[in-house]
C-alpha cells in the first residue's frame, strides 16, 4: 500500500519535467495527423480522404497532378500523346520500374489495374466514374512492356488527369480478383508486409485507431538532382487524432511536425512560433466550397403524386430575383471576421481561386447591401403587407423557411446561423436547424423535401469531375436533381457546356467553356457561395522542403521532405 502511494505521488513529480522524450535514434521521421482512421489500404475501394491520404503515398499512377499548380505531370509514365481527336491516349512507361518486392512493373500491370479493377463492374471502384464518359469506358491495349493505349469511342480531353489513379500489382492481386474477393483485399487488418506497392513509401505498421506508420520504399525509382534516391525520410507516421483542438495541443507539445489549421486557431498558435520552433504558412483559400442552396424542385413524388416541396415555396426559390436578394443580404465580410477570425476569402463562383487554371475571377459579385436586397424583394412583389415585419409573396403567403445544415461541422453551423440572421433582417421569417449528416443527405438525395441548406462540396482538380453536380441529370444536382430534361434554360446551357468541354482537346477553349459556366452560375445562383477559409499550415522549423499549397496540401511532395540535421 505504501509503495503504491509512493508511486502515485511520483507521477505528478515526473510530469513536472514534461512528457517522456524518445531516444534519438528515430529522428529522420515525420509525424503528421489524420482526422479519422483509414478504412482500407486498397486504393481501388478507398473513398475517404483518411484512406486515400495514405494509399496515395503507397500507390502512384501514370501521371500526377502538381500539388501547387494543378498541372498534370509525368509519373510512372514519362510521356503521352493523344490521337483521333482525343479518343485514343498512348502512354510510355519509365524503364525498369519495380514493385516494392523487387518484381518488375510493366504495362501488363497497368492493363490489369484498369481492366480488372477500376473498370470491373463487379467492383465498387470509386475511380470508375472519372474514367467514364457518356457511359463509355476505355479499351486498354498493351503495345509493349512499356507502352499502353487507352481508347474511347468519344473524345475525352481530361484523360491524363484521370490516369493518376494508382497502379496495383497483378502478380499479387490477380488471384483475389479471380476469386471475387478483391474488395476485401488489403483491408486494415492486413499484414503490412503483404501489401506490395510502387510509391515512395510502404506500409510498416497500423495500430488500429491510433497510428499508421509508413517506411521508405527502397525500390522507389525517383532520384533527386544530386542522384540521391528519394524519399529522404525513413518513416512517416500518421497520428489519428479526431479532434482538431487535440491536434493543436499535440503540436504544441512537439508530438506532431505539421498540422493544417484554420483562422480560428491562428491567434493561439501565432504568438508561440518562436517558443515552439515552427512557422505558420498561409497558402490561400481552401479548394472546397460551402454554399447556401434553395430547393427548386418542382417535381412530384411518383408514388403519392404529391409535390416534393410546397409549390408556394418552390415558386419563391425558383425566382432568381429572390435568390439574388438573398445573396446581397449576406454579409460575407462579417462571416470572415467572426467565423474565420479574419482569415477567409469571399467566394462568388463554383471554383475556388486555389483550384488552378479553370478558375474564372470575373463572375458576378453580390457585395453586402441589405437595402438593395430589400429593394429587389419589394420590386419582385415580396412585400410586408400586414406590417408584422415578415414579407409575403404576391399571393399573400408569408415567406417562411428553415435553413438546415449538418451538426458537427462547427464552421458551417456558425455560417448558417449568421446567414439566418442576415436573411431575417431583410424581412424573411427564417428558422435554423442542424441535423445529422446522414439525415440531411437523405433529404437531398431521396425525399427532396428540404427547403434551404448550407452544404459543402469538395473541389476536384478538373470541373469535369463535378459533372454529377452540374448536369441537370446528375444525382448531386441538389436544387433539382435527376431531371429528364433540363427545366430551366440556363441549366440546358450548363449541360451543353459540360458535354462540349469534355470533348474539347484545346485547353484554352476548355477554359473558355468553363468560364462561361461559372458566369451562368454567378448570374443564376443555384448555389449562393459562402466564404472559404484560408488554409494555414503550422510547420516545425526542423523540416525542409515543406511547400504547402491549397491543392496538394503539405504532402504532395512528401518524398522530398527532409529533416534538417541539428
Amino acid at each position: 500500500m505504501r509503495r503504491l502511494l509512493l508511486l502515485l505521488a511520483g507521477i505528478p513529480a515526473l510530469s513536472g519535467c514534461g512528457l517522456p522524450e524518445p531516444t534519438g535514434e528515430h529522428r529522420n521521421r515525420l509525424v503528421v495527423s489524420s482526422v479519422s482512421p483509414p478504412r482500407t489500404f486498397n486504393p481501388v475501394v478507398a473513398r475517404e480522404t483518411s484512406s486515400t491520404d495514405i494509399t496515395d503515398r503507397l500507390f502512384i499512377g501514370l501521371t500526377r497532378s502538381d500539388g501547387v499548380t494543378g498541372e498534370v505531370l509525368p509519373y510512372l509514365a514519362t510521356e503521352w500523346e493523344s490521337s483521333d481527336g482525343g479518343r485514343a491516349w498512348e502512354f510510355t512507361l519509365r524503364e525498369e520500374l519495380q514493385w516494392s518486392d523487387g518484381e518488375p512493373l510493366t504495362a501488363e500491370d497497368v492493363k490489369f489495374t484498369y481492366d480488372r479493377l477500376y473498370l470491373n463492374p463487379d467492383i465498387a471502384a470509386s475511380g470508375r466514374d472519372i474514367l467514364t464518359v457518356e457511359g463509355e469506358t476505355p479499351e486498354v491495349t498493351v503495345l509493349s512492356d512499356t507502352r499502353i493505349r487507352f481508347e474511347y469511342s468519344e473524345p475525352y480531353a481530361p484523360f491524363p488527369r484521370a490516369a493518376a489513379l494508382g497502379i496495383l500489382p497483378q502478380h499479387v492481386l490477380e488471384d483475389r480478383v479471380d476469386a471475387g474477393t478483391f474488395e476485401s483485399a488489403w483491408g486494415v487488418g492486413t499484414d503490412p508486409s503483404s501489401i506490395v506497392v510502387n510509391g515512395p513509401f510502404m506500409l510498416a505498421e497500423y495500430r488500429t485507431g491510433q497510428r499508421v506508420v509508413l517506411e521508405r520504399n527502397p525500390h522507389y525509382f525517383e532520384r533527386d538532382e544530386n542522384g540521391e534516391s528519394l524519399p529522404y525520410l525513413d518513416r512517416v507516421q500518421f497520428e489519428i487524432v479526431q479532434n482538431l483542438d487535440v491536434q493543436i495541443q499535440k503540436f504544441r507539445l512537439g508530438e506532431l511536425d505539421v498540422i493544417g489549421v484554420t483562422g480560428q486557431y491562428f491567434p493561439l498558435l501565432s504568438p508561440e512560433r518562436d517558443r515552439f520552433d515552427f512557422r505558420l504558412e498561409r497558402v490561400g483559400p481552401a479548394t472546397g466550397t460551402t454554399f447556401l442552396a434553395f430547393n427548386m424542385n418542382t417535381g412530384e413524388d411518383p408514388e403519392t403524386g404529391r409535390p416534393y416541396l410546397d409549390p408556394v415555396k418552390a415558386a419563391w426559390f425558383n425566382d432568381v430575383e429572390f435568390r439574388r436578394a438573398a445573396s446581397y443580404a449576406i454579409d460575407r465580410e462579417e462571416i470572415i471576421r467572426i467565423v474565420m477570425n479574419g482569415l477567409g476569402h469571399p467566394m462568388w463562383g463554383p471554383l475556388s481561386p486555389s483550384q488552378g487554371p479553370f478558375h474564372y475571377p470575373d463572375v458576378r459579385r453580390y457585395p453586402y447591401d441589405p437595402d438593395r436586397a430589400r429593394q429587389i424583394l419589394d420590386e419582385a412583389g415580396y412585400i410586408d403587407r400586414s406590417g408584422n415585419g415578415i414579407r409575403q409573396d404576391p399571393d399573400g403567403n408569408p415567406i417562411r423557411f428553415v435553413i438546415v445544415t449538418n451538426a458537427g461541422s462547427d464552421t458551417r453551423v456558425r455560417m448558417a446561423q449568421m446567414v439566418r440572421r442576415d436573411l431575417a433582417d431583410i424581412g424573411l421569417d427564417v428558422g435554423f436547424n442542424q441535423i445529422d449528416f446522414n439525415a440531411l443527405v437523405n433529404q437531398l438525395s431521396f425525399t427532396f423535401d428540404w427547403e434551404v441548406v448550407v452544404m459543402g462540396l469538395t473541389g476536384g482538380p478538373d470541373p469535369h469531375f463535378g459533372s454529377n453536380v452540374w448536369l441537370s441529370s446528375g444525382g448531386l444536382h441538389m436544387w433539382h436533381p435527376m431531371q429528364e430534361e433540363p427545366q430551366r434554360p440556363w441549366e440546358a446551357e450548363i449541360d451543353r457546356i459540360f458535354v462540349e468541354a469534355v470533348r474539347e482537346a484545346d485547353d484554352n477553349r476548355r477554359r473558355e467553356l468553363y468560364s462561361e459556366w461559372q458566369e451562368i452560375v454567378g448570374e443564376q445562383l443555384p448555389f449562393i457561395y459562402l466564404p472559404n477559409e484560408e488554409m494555414i499550415f503550422a510547420i516545425r522549423d526542423r523540416l525542409e522542403n515543406v511547400e504547402p499549397a491549397p491543392l496538394g496540401g503539405y504532402m504532395h511532395n512528401l518524398e522530398r521532405i527532409a529533416v534538417r540535421d541539428e
Binding site: I248, D331, R421, G431, I435
Partner: protein, 360 residues
C-alpha cells in the same frame, strides 16, 4: 400533514446554511427565468457583430480620479498581427449605467409586450457583464433566456416521467401477472440500451423543420422516455409491498373499486417518494439537455439554452482565447448542485429509509 412537512423544511433551511443557499439559488434562477426579458439588458438575439467576443465589461465608478455615476467605457475591436481580437478603449466615450431603462421589447409570460429592462447603458453603448459570444450577443442575456429552457426542462420532464412511471409501475405492481411481466421486461430492455445511444437515436427522428418549441418538448419527451423505466420499477416495488398491507386488503375485501384503492391508498402512501425522486432526478434532465445541445442536436440558435451556449466552449482553443464562454457551464453546475442539496434535505425529511441514486 403537508403543512407540517413544509414547516419542517422551513426550519431545516434556517439551521442548514447549505440548504438555505441552495433554496435561494433556485429561487433566484427561477425568478431570472420568469423575468428573463426584464433582467437581461438585451434580447437573446440582439447582436453587434462589431463586438465579437467582447470581454466582460468593467463598471467604472471613477473618472479622472473623481467619483462619478457608475459607467462603462467604449471599446473598439481590432485584430493584431497575430489575428487576436484586441479591444482598444475609445478615449472620452463613456456610457452611464442606468436602472430601469427602455430597450428591446420582449413579451412577459407571453401576455404582455414590454420594453423595460432592469439595467442598461442606452442605445450607443453596450454592456456585457459576462462578456459576449462570437456575434457580440450579451452572454448574460442569453444565460437568462437559457434559464427558461434549462430550468424548466427538468420540471416538465420529471412530471412526464412520473406520469408514465406511476401509470405503468402502478399497473404492473397492482395487477401483476402477465401485464407485470410485459411491463417489467420492457423497462429492462430500455435500461439495457445505453441512455446516450437512446438520446442520439431518438433525436435523429426529428423532422428538421420543427420550430424550437416543438423541439423543446420533444427533447423533454425523449429524456423522460429514458427516465421512466427505473421509476416504474421502484413504484412497482412499492405498490407490491403496499398491496400486502392490511388497509389495502381491507379496502379490497370491502369491495372498493380499483380506482379508489389506487387513488386513495396507493398514491398518497408513495407520494413522499415522488417528491424526493423529482428533486433528485431534475439534474439528470438538465444534464441530458446540455449533452444533446453540446453535440448540436438540442435547442437551436438563435434560441438559447445553457447547453447550446456551451457548444461554443467545446473547443479548448476558443476557451483559451475567450475564457468567459465557459460561464454557462457554471450556471448548470449551480443549478444541479442546488437541486442535489434540496433533494438530499427532502430525503432526510420525508424518507429516511430510502436510498435513491441518480442515474444519468
Amino acid at each position: 400533514m403537508l403543512r407540517r412537512r413544509l414547516r419542517q423544511f422551513w426550519d431545516m433551511c434556517w439551521t442548514n446554511g447549505f440548504l438555505l443557499s441552495a433554496v435561494v439559488c433556485l429561487t433566484l434562477l427561477y425568478l431570472v427565468a420568469l423575468f428573463a426579458g426584464f433582467v437581461s439588458p438585451y434580447h437573446y438575439d440582439n447582436e453587434d457583430r462589431t463586438r465579437s467576443y467582447h470581454p466582460p465589461t468593467r463598471i467604472h465608478v471613477f473618472d479622472d480620479g473623481r467619483l462619478t455615476r457608475p459607467h462603462v467605457r467604449e471599446y473598439e475591436l481590432t485584430f493584431d498581427e497575430d489575428y487576436r481580437r484586441v479591444f482598444v478603449p475609445v478615449e472620452g466615450v463613456r456610457h452611464d449605467l442606468r436602472l430601469f431603462v427602455r430597450g428591446d421589447t420582449y413579451s412577459f409570460l407571453g401576455l404582455l409586450e414590454w420594453d423595460l429592462h432592469l439595467f442598461g447603458v442606452g442605445e450607443e453603448g453596450r454592456i456585457y457583464l459576462l462578456g459576449a459570444d462570437s456575434r457580440g450577443r450579451d452572454l448574460l442575456s442569453r444565460i437568462a433566456y437559457g434559464a427558461q429552457v434549462s430550468m424548466t426542462i427538468g420540471l416538465v420532464g420529471v412530471a412526464i416521467a412520473l406520469l408514465f412511471g406511476l401509470l405503468l409501475g402502478g399497473i404492473s405492481g397492482y395487477y401483476g401477472g402477465w401485464i407485470d411481466t410485459v411491463i417489467q421486461r420492457s423497462t429492462e430492455i430500455i435500461m439495457i440500451i445505453p441512455g446516450f445511444f437512446l438520446l442520439l437515436a431518438l433525436r435523429a427522428a426529428f423532422p428538421p423543420d420543427w420550430d424550437s418549441i416543438r423541439v423543446y418538448f420533444f427533447i423533454i419527451v425523449i429524456l423522460s422516455f429514458i427516465g421512466w423505466a427505473s421509476l416504474a420499477r421502484v413504484i412497482r416495488g412499492m405498490v407490491l409491498s403496499l398491496r400486502e398491507k392490511e388497509f389495502v386488503a381491507a379496502a379490497r375485501v370491502l369491495g372498493a373499486p380499483d380506482r379508489f384503492i389506487i387513488t386513495r391508498h396507493l398514491i398518497p402512501n408513495t407520494a413522499s417518494y415522488f417528491v424526493v425522486y423529482a428533486s433528485i432526478s431534475i439534474p439528470g434532465y438538465i444534464l441530458g439537455e446540455s449533452a444533446l445541445s453540446l453535440l448540436g442536436l438540442g435547442i437551436q440558435d438563435p434560441h438559447a439554452s445553457w447547453g447550446n451556449l456551451l457548444q461554443e466552449a467545446m473547443s479548448i482553443t476558443q476557451i483559451q482565447l475567450h475564457p468567459w464562454i465557459l460561464l454557462p457551464g457554471f450556471f448548470i453546475f449551480v443549478a444541479v448542485m442546488s437541486f442535489n442539496i434540496v433533494g438530499d434535505a427532502l430525503r432526510d425529511l420525508l424518507d429516511p429509509q430510502q436510498e435513491v441514486t441518480t442515474t444519468i
